[in-house]
Assembly symmetry: C2
Homo-oligomer: 126 residues x 2
């Protein structure tokens, strides 16, 4: 149950901790930039700049910020090649790949229901 952070009973103290942690992680990851990064990486290894080009409209800052967060949570691996100029590459880890499956689902869903949604919007906006 990710929707709840806390439960009432003190007996469930560790469940509560797990819930609260789960919710925290969910909140980290359930944001568009993080998910777009995961989607963009896919099975490839990409450099910082390549990612930046790949993801329309993301700023330098948002990209680093989200990459750090994903790295911290163990979803992406960051490898630095000490060349000059520097070359930094990002890859999805196994947990990252696993999450990517469901992100693919979301992307597929978006495509599949484009029509529905567009129509629904027109109805609603009237």
């Amino acid at each position: 149950m990710v929707t709840k952070q806390f439960r009432g009973s003190p007996k469930e103290a560790d469940l509560t901790r797990a819930d609260s942690l789960a919710r925290e992680i969910f909140s980290d990851i359930a944001n568009k930039w993080a998910l777009l990064i995961i989607e963009a990486l896919g099975e490839r290894t990409l450099r910082f700049g390549e990612l930046r080009n790949e993801i329309e409209g993301i700023s330098h800052k948002m990209l680093t910020q989200n990459l750090r967060m994903l790295e911290r949570n163990g979803l992406v691996e960051r490898s630095v090649h000490p060349t000059v100029p520097p070359r930094v590459e990002y890859t999805l880890t196994e947990p990252g790949q696993a999450l990517r499956e469901t992100v693919n689902g979301m992307c597929g869903w978006t495509g599949q229901y484009l029509g529905h949604i567009e129509a629904s919007r027109r109805r609603f906006d009237a």
Copy 2:
């Protein structure tokens, strides 16, 4: 491809439009409150207040805002019972249910990798 909003070639004008729309929809939906609402609704029908209780920490404003957005995109159906006091119920539509499948995936993923993630965080924070 949700990561790109626009493509270069003018020949792909309608693909471009579809991409840009897809990205817009993706950005709408890929935020924690929207996803938590979808998860909370599940197969049930819930009233506004029930949803508010169900989702730890969501504000009145965020809840209405996201519900409107989801309604506009045709993911939830809003039914008003003209009683007094008013009773407003929300249910997932078929597209909403379909998306919920993948959201369930994300929640499952979170639970499954809690350990990995917690460990990774400890490593990173050192």
